[in-house]
């Protein structure tokens, strides 16, 4: 920690100051109890969703800062802003944070915010488990971020290929941070997958058949299946790697008869579906946003569902395209090349259905819609270069070059990040009862979108020019310098866009337009039927679903969400808050720290704590309460819905 240099010292100081600041503010305003009662112990899916999203935005800042550091270092030949070791750590944490601690919590945040509301139910199937999932993710994210001030960050790339990450080449705790924090967040993610699978399959409001579900809910259902099938593979891969590193086994080390390729296979059997885990929900968000702001129902609903399901299935049989250049035979490469190209077919169907959703519509260019529309050309470029990468002989030339870097940023930013922004602008009023400022939203869109293209489009050329990913510096004379400088300027544009978004959030919290109707966009799906923000119980009465776009139908038929006036409300059964999920995740954190530094006493304390909190739960019988009718009437009449 002491020999890390001024950048890290500055970060240490800032982290300490920020922590002290938070503690002082919470204590001064006597907010600890409020925080504990309303947020830290909550099992309300809407609040958990909001916490996921806040964490995701913070992690976007962290990962984005990493990105800016990299762009600064690469902006000219032979720079010495970062040394090789720092650069290696920065690109590793950039990739890991962005995928696992930004994209994942953001989309899972939207699962929580929107899905129970969209299917007309009061909570997820396992609210307590949902809280555990969130706190496991949070503990893992904190643990992972700690690496950068204690003991050094992982430096093997976000893929952490063996044998490089084995102890003999990469000693020290850095790599353990990667393994352990991914393992912990992975447990939470698997639980989330199961939770939403069951929620969607079992808890839909009466009349909501599968083919009447909103498209976002469909995308979440399919994503949940992918999670449940893919994440256990990651658990296995990381588990074996941890045993190698902590206990001297040789699953992946050649010297002991292990097979490094086995890790690469396991990693991508999870890793490829993982990229669909973060893109399919974004597809769902775009479907909602485009049909809402074109004021038309989604074109080709059934084809959209079938496409998504086939993408999900195909995502499991393409993983070898990540290593065409690792000596698989021509038969294997051909099979995986063609199966990868095949994904373009259902994706193409989806793009055309989105385009034709706008046909004969009346397109309103709100901020949310701009992100959805910006997604189409950008994702198209990313997707089509993906098809080019799927040609194995061509991939021999693109592999690990900047062509690849550009491709996956086009799909992950142009797809997932644009989707997250679209979802933020779209669902913000539902989450907070306030609209984000449209003018600032448009500034955010244009600066970020232009910056993004300036930053990543030139990378295709750098790939053809022979620049490979993960180099921390390069000599002059290759013609790479100017292009890299342009890219760095584009990265600044993205940073400015992000700051405008943060300013928008702060500004709108104070001065933003309040959403009193609950339906500011004249939208189509059920989440807009209830108030903004939705009451704890979501719906005073579970709605009866008569067709697709249920809320649109109700509005057209002049029906109230609370049904006919004369039927009395009934008490609503809700789960109790619990502080145990956060305490359990604290024990996971302790156990994780033990595994990272091989301090076995800490590990044992942590794991015992986990077991004790698990056991406590099974003896907890008083875990629910009823909301009395008077309270429901009070809430509903305050919202003007009686």
């Amino acid at each position: 920690m002491l020999d890390e240099g001024p950048l890290i010292w500055m970060s240490d100081a800032l982290i300490t100051l920020a922590t002290i600041g938070i503690i002082v503010v919470l204590t001064y305003f006597k907010l600890w109890k409020w925080l504990w009662d309303n947020w830290l112990t909550t099992v309300d899916h809407k609040k958990i969703g909001i916490m996921y999203l806040i964490a995701a935005i913070l992690m976007l800042f962290r990962g984005g800062t990493d990105g800016m550091l990299m762009r600064a270092q690469l902006s000219w030949p032979n720079l010495h802003f970062l040394n090789a070791d720092h650069y290696d750590q920065v690109f590793t944490t950039h990739g890991t944070v962005m995928i696992l601690f930004m994209a994942m919590p953001a989309i899972i945040g939207f699962f929580n915010v929107a899905v129970p509301l969209q299917i007309g139910c009061r909570d997820v199937a396992f609210p307590y488990l949902n809280a555990i999932s969130f706190w496991l993710f949070f503990a893992a994210a904190m643990l992972f971020n700690l690496s950068f001030v204690v003991g050094g960050s992982p430096d093997g790339g976000w893929t952490s290929y063996t044998p490089y990450v084995e102890n003999m080449f990469d000693p020290g705790p850095g790599e353990n941070y990667f393994i352990v924090s991914l393992q912990i967040t992975g447990i939470g993610t698997i639980a989330t997958g199961i939770n939403f699978m069951i929620t969607i399959l079992r808890m839909r409001a009466p009349g909501m058949t599968l083919m009447r579900m909103p498209m976002f809910t469909w995308s979440v259902l399919i994503t949940s299946f992918i999670i449940v099938f893919a994440f256990p593979v990651l658990t296995a891969a990381l588990g074996l790697l941890l045993i190698d590193r902590d206990f001297g086994a040789h699953f992946f080390t050649v010297s002991g008869g292990g097979m490094p390729m086995q890790y690469v296979n396991l990693f991508w059997i999870w890793g490829h579906p993982e990229v669909y885990i973060v893109i399919l929900p974004a597809f769902g968000i775009f479907s909602e946003v485009i049909s809402t702001f074109a004021h038309k129902r989604l074109f080709g609903y059934a084809a959209m569902v079938v496409s998504m399901a086939s993408i999900a299935i195909l995502s499991f049989i393409v993983w070898v395209h990540h290593f065409f250049t690792m000596g698989a035979g021509p038969g294997v490469n051909s099979f995986f090349g063609v199966s990868t190209m095949a994904i373009a077919i259902p994706t193409g169907v989806k793009v055309f259905n989105w385009l034709f959703t706008m046909h004969k519509g009346r397109i309103e260019y709100t901020s949310a819609m701009l992100w959805a529309l910006g997604f189409i050309p950008n994702f198209l470029i990313g997707g089509l270069t993906g098809v080019m990468l799927a040609v194995p002989p061509a991939d021999y030339q693109y592999h690990n070059s900047y062509f690849l870097v550009s491709h996956f940023h086009y799909v992950l930013i142009g797809g997932t990040v644009f989707g997250v922004f679209a979802g933020l602008y779209y669902w913000w009023p539902k989450m907070f009862g306030v609209l984000l400022n449209e003018r600032l939203g448009k500034w955010h869109f244009w600066t970020f979108m232009i910056g993004f293209n300036v930053c990543f489009f030139p990378m295709y050329f750098l790939g053809f020019m022979g620049m490979t990913r993960r180099v921390y510096t390069y000599p002059a004379g290759y013609g790479w310098g100017v292009i890299n400088l342009i890219e760095s300027i584009g990265a600044i544009g993205m940073g400015v866009g992000f700051l405008i978004m943060v300013y928008n959030i702060v500004w709108s919290a104070r001065f933003g337009e309040r959403d009193t109707t609950g339906d500011p966009w004249d939208a189509r799906t059920l989440e807009w039927a209830t108030t903004s923000p939705a009451p704890e119980y979501n719906f005073a009465r579970i709605p009866e679903i008569k067709g697709r776009d249920a809320w649109w139908l109700m509005k057209r038929n002049g029906e109230s969400i609370n049904g006919p006036k004369d039927i009395p409300f009934e008490p609503i059964h809700m789960p109790n808050n619990s502080g145990r999920p956060i305490i359990m995740s604290l024990f996971f954190f302790i156990a994780g720290a033990g595994f990272i530094f091989s301090w076995w006493i800490l590990t044992i304390i942590g794991l015992l704590g986990v077991l004790v909190t698990l056991a406590q739960r099974s003896f907890e019988y008083d875990d629910h309460h009823y909301i009395p009718v008077e309270e429901i009437e009070r809430t509903e009449s305050a919202a003007g819905r009686l």
Binding site: Y164, G300, N333, M341, M358, V387, V391, H399
Partner: protein
């Protein structure tokens, strides 16, 4: 507000054109992948071009529909009261845009599979300048941390961080690694292949003409990775033979000490030895 589509299109044009201008429009010196110098790189280049043509067709098609929709159906004060129709779908149109991608994928898949199988064989040097066709040369490539060691078993020569090859002749590179994985990449001559521990992967490359080409590692392997580069010197058969002979006679033997030195992590300048086993 101007339709967002037009701005987008303008942006792409500006960025694309300025990139082309900056890169000097395809000069081989700067864009090795797009100016192949041997049959392997050339067959890969043709596939890249073919896939690019197919993809640009898709881009143009989608962009036309996209901008048409954005402009034609945008909300304006004049169409304030317009209520869009609720359209379920259209099976004819949906079939069309399912079938067209299928056709495109097939058009791409067939040459892909053919070339993938072809590249396993030694390249047939159609454009070779040298007439004489000799038996292929085998060169063992070993990636040490962070240097490239080339062993010529037939010639009993070892070089470090550079490799000399005869032009117009297929070279059989046998890749392996003593440490982490690396990837052996000479963009001007052909695509990469990994160098992995305990595994020999084969890569055929061939240069048309004499010349010097840059090679590098494409798989991250730690601190010295960014500097893990080497030169490929392609020379005429006569020059190559002369070099082999001269090296066998004048270059020092590979000593145990030097070999140990090479196996330690670190960077070294190019070296030449007249034996491949340490003594």
């Amino acid at each position: 507000m101007k339709p967002s589509g037009r701005r987008l299109r303008g942006l792409f044009l500006v960025v694309g054109l300025s990139m082309l201008a900056l890169t000097g429009c395809g000069t081989g010196k700067y864009i090795p992948v797009l100016s192949p110098q041997g049959p392997v790189a050339r067959s890969e280049y043709y596939l890249i071009i073919w896939s690019f043509v197919l993809m640009i067709v898709v881009v143009l098609g989608v962009f036309v529909i996209y901008f048409y929709m954005l402009v034609k159906y945008r909300a304006r004060p004049e169409n304030k009261d317009y209520v869009p129709p609720e359209i379920e779908g259209n099976s004819r149109w949906e079939s069309i845009w399912t079938i067209i991608p299928i056709i495109i994928v097939i058009a791409l898949a067939i040459p892909t599979v053919a070339v993938t199988y072809n590249l396993v064989q030694p390249p047939k040097s159609a454009a070779a300048t040298t007439a004489t066709k000799e038996t292929p040369i085998t060169i063992d490539v070993i990636s040490e941390r962070w240097k490239w060691v080339f062993k010529y078993p037939g010639q009993n020569i070892e070089t470090v961080n550079y490799v000399n090859i005869p032009a117009g002749q297929p070279i059989d590179f046998e890749l392996s690694s003593t440490g982490p994985m690396n990837a052996f990449w000479v963009p001007a001559l052909g695509g990469m292949e990994f160098a992995m521990p305990s595994k020999d992967l084969k890569l055929w490359l061939e240069a048309d003409h004499p010349g010097t080409y840059d090679g590098r590692s494409a798989q991250f392997s730690g601190r010295g990775f960014a500097n893990m580069t080497f030169k490929v010197n392609s020379m005429t058969q006569a020059q190559f033979n002369a070099w082999v002979q001269k090296t066998q006679q004048t270059a020092p033997k590979l000593t145990k000490q030097t070999d140990d030195q090479l196996q330690k992590p670190g960077l070294v300048s190019p070296m030449t030895f007249s034996s491949i086993e340490p003594e």
